[in-house]
Every structure is written in C-alpha cells, then in structure tokens.
Symmetry: C2
Subunit: 533 residues, 2 copies
C-alpha cells in the first residue's frame, strides 16, 4: 500500500555503523507494519492489488511521526477557521474520524476536532480512485488523519455537523494514528442528550463506570470538552480576581507530620522510616502565611479525605480553592470579599464561557445559574426558621443534614430567586476547634457556609488568632495540643485577626452547570472504589 | 490599665440566659488578662498606678478582636500610602513593632508592614503621658498594633526605614496581638545581608534550620516577602502565557494505583484496605489529556519523590509546572513553545518584579539573570564537545553529572552570555521508556533538558504515541507492561504525536534569583529529614 514520501535515510547527519543498522531495521519494521495494516483496511477482496490505482501516493497509513522532518510547507487550518477558506484552494486539516461511510463511488466522512465537526467528501474522479474511497471508508472511527482538501460552500445546512455551511472536498488522506476498530464506547452514545422524554429504545446511554474506565474516549464528547475548559476557567477566574484584590498565591505541603484536624479521615503515607499523613486541607499553612505577614493568600491544590463516602458529591482527592485574609475588625470584611469573588466568578463564567455552558446544556438539560449582586446573606437561625416554616424539625445547634441543606436551597430559591447564598453564624458546637466563637451569642460562631443550588461549596470562618484561647478551644474539643504545637506557636509572635474559607473546585463546576455527579467534573476521579485510570 | 471602649454587652441581640452568663465570664476573663498583661508591660515600679495618667484611653492592650463591632469609621492607611497623607491630619495604621525604644520622655518605634517600615514618635505632651511612652517602649517586638498618628515630613532622610521622608506623630497606640518578649530569631538578624566581606563579629547569621523551625518569623524578612511574591509571579506568568497560547489547565490525581514510572523513589499510601502511591509527576495523565483531545494542556501541582537526597536542590515534595502539547510533524514545535514561554516568564519577572528582585538582592548578592531571545539551543553532542574541550572525560551516552552540568553552564555563559539554554537530543539510554528515539541516530532521542545558571530546571521529550512501539520500549526497560495497561491503552484509540516537559517551580525561583538552596524558595519545605512545620 501507499505511504507518504519520506526521506527515510538520515537527513545529512552522520550515523554510527551500529546506529545505521538499527535505524534501517526500525524503518523496515515500520514499513511492514504500515503495509499490513493498510492491506487490512483495504478489505479482504484483494482489490487493491488487482487494479491499477491512479490515486497512489495520495492516501495511506503515514509512518509513525518521529520528528524526522518538519514539513514546514504545510499550513494547517482548524475546523472553525475553514469557513474563511472557502473557494481559496487547498488546505491541510488534522482531525479525528468521527464517522466514515463509503458507498459505491463516494465516501462521506465527518472529521472532528475537539468539539467541532465538518463533513468531508471523496468521490471517484481523475485524482480519487475507487481504492482510495474504499480505504477512507474503512478508517476506524477515532483515528487521527491528515487531509488535504478544498473547503466549499454547501447549498443546504449540514445539520449533523457544527460547521453547517462548509464541506471539504478531499484530495489526500493519511492516517496519522489509527484507532482500534472496536471501541469500548461510542462517542455518539456518550454524547447523547439525557432527555428523559426520549423513547427508551433510541436512548442508548453509557454508564458512569464504562465512561470512567475509558476516560480518554469519554473526555472527547462535546460536553466533556466544555466541562473541563470551563473548569479551567473557574480556577483562572478565582486566581485572577483574588490577585486583583491583592492576594498572593502560596503553595502548602500535602505531606504533613500530624493529622492536625483530628485523626479521622486521613490517609497515611510511609515517609522513609517514619510515617506521615496527607493534608485534608491547607488550613494550618494558609493561617501560618497570614501570621507570616502575607496578609491575603490563596492556594489551589490537591486535598485528601480518607472518607468512605460513596455519594454523588464526595471524592477522596479533590482540588481545593482556599483563601485566607487578615482583617481589621470584623470577619465580614472577609465574608464580603469571598461573596464578591463568587459573584465575579459567576459573571466571568456567564460572559466568557457561554459556548461551553451551551455545549453542556445540549447533553444535560439544566436551568441557568442565578445569582444576586451583592449575594444574599442569611443567618443560620433564619435558615432554621425557614426550614421549620416548611415543617422540618431541626435543633438550634444541629448541623444541616444533606436533605435539609437541599430543601433550604429550594426555599431560598423560591423566596429570593438565587442559586447562590451565604449562611452566616453557624452553631459553635458543629465547627472545628479553631473557629472563633460569636462574642454576642455563645451558641453561635463567626463561621459561614456558602451554597450553590442548595449544596455546600465553601466552609469558612474567623479563626482564633489568640494562642491561649486556641489551646482552650482545642482542649474543649479533646485535641492533643502537643500535636499542634507548631501551629499554636505560630500565633505567639503576633498574628492579625483573620478569616477564610475552602472551596471544593469540582463541586463548584458540578453545581454551576447543574450536573448530578462530581465524577463528571473530575478529570480522573478518585473515590473509595476507584483508583484508575 | 486602659482598654479601648467596647460595647461589651450584646449589641441588641437576644442572648440566652446560659449564653449571657458565659459571655459575661468571657468578658471578665479578657479584661483581667488585658489588665495583668498591661501592668506587666508598664514595668515593675508601679508608676502607672501611682501617677494620674492624662493619656488614659489613648493606649493599652486591645481586647481580642472577635468581630464584635465593625468600627467602620476607622480608615486605615498602608505604610507606602502615608507619604500622600502628610499634614492632612490623623490616620490609622496597623502594623508590627519592628523595634521600639523609650528613653526618658520620648519613644521611637519603627512600625513594619510586610516589607515597608516607618518611624513613629511619641513624646510626652498634653495628650501623651509618661506612662504611655513607657508602655509603648515596652511593647514586644513583632506585636501587632493599631496607631492613630499624624504623618509629617522630616528634614533629614531616615536611613533605617523604607519610608525615609515621613514619620508618624503618634496619638493613640493599641496592641492588637502581642508577641512573646523572647523571639527564637530576630528579624533583623534574619534579614542581614550575606556579605562575605563583613567583619565577622558584626555578621550574626541565622542558620537554615532555625529559620525553617521558626518559618512564620523567618518569612517576615524583606527578602522572604519578596521571594514568595515573585514565586507567585512565576506561577501566574507560566499559566497566563500558556493560556494565551491556547493551553487548557487540567488537574491530575496525586494518588495513583501503580508506581508507573518505575517503582523506585515512590511514596506508598494506605488507601482504605488497599495501598497506593503518590504520583512522581503528572506525566501519564497529561498525556492522556492529549489523547482525550485537549490538544495543549498544563497543570500546576504537588509532585512527590521518595528520594533520600539531602542536597541543596532536592525536595521530597515540590510544585511541578507541567505542560504537554500535540504537534504536527516535529517535536521542535513544542520545544520552541516551551523555550518562548521561559523567555516570556523571564521578561515578566524582570518587568513586573523589579522591586522584589531588588529586595532579594539586598540580602543575597546575585548577578542579574541573563537570557537570549530566542533562547540558545545546543545539541547534547555539542555540550559533550564543549566539556571535552575543557578537559572533561565524558562518554557519548553518559548523562551529565551535577559538576559537569554546572561546568557546562559556565562554559555556555562564557561563550554565549546567557543563564538559560536548552540542550536537545539526549542519549536514548538515559531517558525514560516513553521517550521517542531519534529517527536519525539511534543513540539519541527526541528529548531535551533546559537549564538556568547551569542547573536543570526542565526535562522533556517527544513521547511515544504508538502503543506497540511503547510496549516494545517499556519491555526494553524491563517494565511490567501489565501495570501500565491503562496508560498504553489510551494510545489505542488514536493519539496525536505530542511532547512536553516538567518544570520544578522552586528550582526556577531559586536559580532565577541565584539563591543557593531550594529550601529558600519552598514556603514549608519537605526533605528526608524535615516534615515540619
């Protein structure tokens, strides 16, 4: 079969004798492989060998790209750009075979590039042979190909592609990386809208585990391409907005010597001849950065929870967006900063990621995310009153159960028309030892949670910056203060009052988009039952 | 003694009986504590009690700031802004006591805010009492105080402060957070220039372990304040430059099921009833993201090396700046992208962080970092030739030893006047199994390192994207391919040729600034002997 013309011999460089021998062997092997694979693609009827092929050299399996030459003469065009190249002659495009179908003298191929698709046509003529059409029709889906083609306008919209007004008249096709003919999941199935009204039979779904087991394929769907681009946007907006407000990014260690936030739910690491733990949050370190005069800090990084929770919203490893900030007199200085940061993130997503939000919406039907400016702040006691008004029995110092949290979200949405709100002044009893008690009412604390679509995405508080009071509160919680001596010590050399919070990144993306499972927003999720891929 | 006036009673809120009792108790305790501490500060002569104090209410220990009220009337001014407030009346400033010295009827205090310092004066007059001067002179260094003062011009430059033309005439002083009187290290000592020409006696140094053991204090030096702000800049520039080039940020798991890059130097984690490992790099995951059509990706995150290396440049946990990129025909498309990214980072640091670079330079004398545009690219074989020219014996397929690496850096600097260069085409034998061999010379590979001031800061390569060839190379390296089945599998569904690299963030900052130890650029470093703080 046919290969692209390559300077197989070493291009001008001196090659050692041993080297030359090896290289020759490798080249021969590559050739043999290409041939046998191409023969397989061409079908079983031996046709390719029988009939003279006037398209020879215009199609085939490319040699493995090993950076032998630069081919600087080839200018590649991206699929969305093709509309600007109509009737301007030949262009090169690299993409995946989304679908390919040869019928008689024609082959229709849909080429996909990330989320963009375009129709390509080959028809037997003076430069395209029957063999070439057949070869192209047999390229396995998901293979990567280089095509040279003429972009032309089409009279009728091509509904099945993102590029609806242009198609490509192909003149050359080379397979760059061939996919297995049998895929563990079909991109079309994995991309199918989750519309509960669909007739059951037409509604082939790919289940979560199949998706995650074959994540490299699953991630190619338009919704997943969009989700992870938007996720990158959440991180970027978080950092840019805080940097603008004068925050400094820091990095905190993940391997720590003591399970500082209580011993539960912590992974153990063997550390040379000793053992250590994986940090459940950067809490103590971001506070130390405040004591070290960094004033306002944030950090983005992995946090670990050895919690055997198999729910839609728990992961054992996730990305924490953490911040901490010194304030002058009242932790609401910080609470408002965090609230405004969320508002700015929501606006940034709405304004800069509308295409991604739309792409996700085409698979998962979701109401747009609503928020108020400035954000709604309710007292915990008000939230309890709303729940009681809805007939729920809950104690004054009782934490919100997951169902109550969701119910409260619905009540707030109904009353205030917002998917984001802040609940301030949580009961002291249910918060960590380092939480500052409310000076005005001892059952409460200077702490807050923030919610998106009725689920918690941030937990934060004013922290105790007085070492003696911190010891008192730690002891009250039954914590061995010798194990957090370095932490307590860091407040003995002058520390400003400060507050902060930790945000679960994957939750923010999940809830912003209204998705039902956090595994949809973690590229390679980790849970108690999943450590691969 | 005196406290700021506070509404100690609950401000209008209903307090439960039990709560009110507790609150009253807490308030009394705070008061007692404040009094006894203030009395201690006032000295042993009982003077404060003996003489009427006309400054009462203008100084003292503040109650712990528990967000009781907002004091929204107080407008705080930062130290660098004070120059704009000269002769415009009273302002509030919060800062640390850098030094304080009372002598007779006067007290000179230097107030520090991050890296900025300003002189403050109190002299006995109709509003300042002798007791107030004494109290202020006795505030322990590093305590945080709020002062109300008039900014005034000074006739002679104040050489000992960063604000040399303004001083503050203090009218009120309140201690917000009091430091221990005995500090484990003095900020002045920790900030002292490392000038080898200094007379020995005057040159009190603080050793590395004392610094790291008391990192919260050590980080307050102007050099450290600058180092970690510049480090945040390196990360920001890296991300912004790549985002601009069309890269997408991803997040990769740190907990992995198999020690995929060979079993050595990997930390083991207990994972529920199983065991797992800490990722030595995001290598396999960023490649999977390429196979999953993300085209160009980067990730910033913790990487772990269980290597018992106690050197100036090894950490067991550090921040990796990783990137991976699909290319069309030659890995130099990627090599140039990375090279240009470095150039842009160096320019960004030079242009946006000149103040920080200067601050570091005041403690550690270092030559400015030089770079060429475009960056210098040498072949590995050329590097070997340069070393041999300098009398070093080294083999064609031998890796660069650390001394040879440094020597080559000096040779390159002498010849090309650059502190940054790229060494391309490393011997195949010394690179990981997934490295693409050089098609033109079998002893080499399509791989590269990048160096700053003669030390490696990036290692990268074209990766093998053909699954069969990858298996062949893995077997050649004696790797059990069943353990990396998911990784190999990800290339079976079409994968574009790609290359990338991993950068050690702390090394970049260390070498850009010309520092001598990587522990200076990791906020809370981890090495085989250090797990705290």
């Amino acid at each position: 079969m046919v290969e692209e013309k390559e300077n197989v011999s070493a291009n001008g460089e001196q090659v050692s004798k041993k080297g030359a021998k090896k290289a020759a062997k490798a080249a021969k092997k590559a050739e043999q492989k290409a041939e046998s694979a191409a023969a397989a693609s061409a079908g079983n009827d031996g046709e390719a060998g029988d009939v003279a092929d006037h398209a020879q050299g215009r199609y085939g399996l490319s040699e493995m790209i090993q950076s032998k030459d630069k081919r600087s003469e080839r200018i590649f065009v991206t699929v969305p750009e093709l509309v600007n190249h109509v009737d301007k002659g030949l262009v090169w495009v690299r993409g995946r075979v989304h679908t390919s179908r040869a019928k008689g003298k024609q082959c229709f191929l849909i080429l996909r590039q990330q989320s963009s698709t375009i129709q390509c046509i080959l028809a037997v003529n003076d430069i395209i042979s029957k063999q070439m059409v057949k070869f192209t029709g047999n390229i396995p889906k998901e293979s990567i190909i280089d095509i040279q083609a003429k972009p032309v306008s089409v009279p009728n919209k091509i509904e099945s592609c993102t590029e609806q007004t242009v198609e490509l008249c192909v003149e050359q096709v080379f397979v760059i990386s061939q996919a297995k003919p049998q895929l563990p999941l079909q991109i079309e199935d994995a991309s199918r809208p989750e519309n509960p009204d669909d007739a059951e039979g037409l509604n082939i779904r790919v289940n979560q585990d199949t998706r995650l087991d074959n994540r490299v394929l699953d991630l190619r769907t338009p919704a997943n391409q969009a989700i992870f681009r938007l996720e990158a946007g959440v991180c970027r907006l978080f950092r840019d907005i805080l940097t603008e407000k004068g925050f400094t990014e820091i990095h905190t260690p993940k391997i720590i010597s003591a399970a500082s936030e209580g011993g539960a739910n912590v992974f153990t690491v063997s550390y040379f001849k000793d053992s250590a733990y994986l940090a459940q949050s950067p809490q103590l370190y971001k506070q130390m950065a405040i004591a070290a005069d960094f004033d306002k800090v944030f950090t983005v990084g992995a946090v670990f929870r050895a919690e055997d929770s198999n729910t839609h919203r728990h992961l054992t490893e996730f990305v924490g967006l953490d911040l901490e900030m010194a304030f002058k007199y009242h932790y609401h200085e910080v609470l408002h900063t965090i609230g405004n940061t969320f508002t700015a993130i929501f606006k940034g997503l709405r304004d800069q990621y509308s295409r991604e939000i739309e792409a996700v919406g085409q698979q998962y039907k979701v109401e747009p995310f609503k928020f108020l400016e400035p954000p709604l702040i309710l007292q915990f006691a008000e939230g309890v009153a709303m729940l009681r008004g809805a007939g729920v029995e809950t104690g004054d110092e009782e934490d919100l159960s997951t169902p109550n949290e969701k119910l409260l979200g619905r009540l707030v949405k109904a009353k205030y028309d917002t998917d984001f709100y802040i609940l301030d002044k949580f009961p002291l009893a249910i918060r960590p030892f380092y939480t500052m008690p409310d000076p005005n009412n001892p059952i409460y604390s200077n702490s807050y949670d923030m919610f998106m679509r009725g689920e918690e995405i941030l937990s934060g508080a004013q922290r105790i910056h007085d070492p003696e009071y911190l010891i008192e509160r730690a002891k009250h919680h039954g914590i061995d203060t010798t194990k957090i001596a370095a932490y307590i010590e860091s407040f003995r050399y002058g520390c400003p009052p400060h507050a902060g919070g930790g945000i679960g990144m994957e939750r923010v993306v999940m809830l912003y988009l209204g998705l039902d499972n956090i595994r949809k927003t973690s590229m390679f999720p980790r849970d108690p039952k999943r450590l691969t891929p």
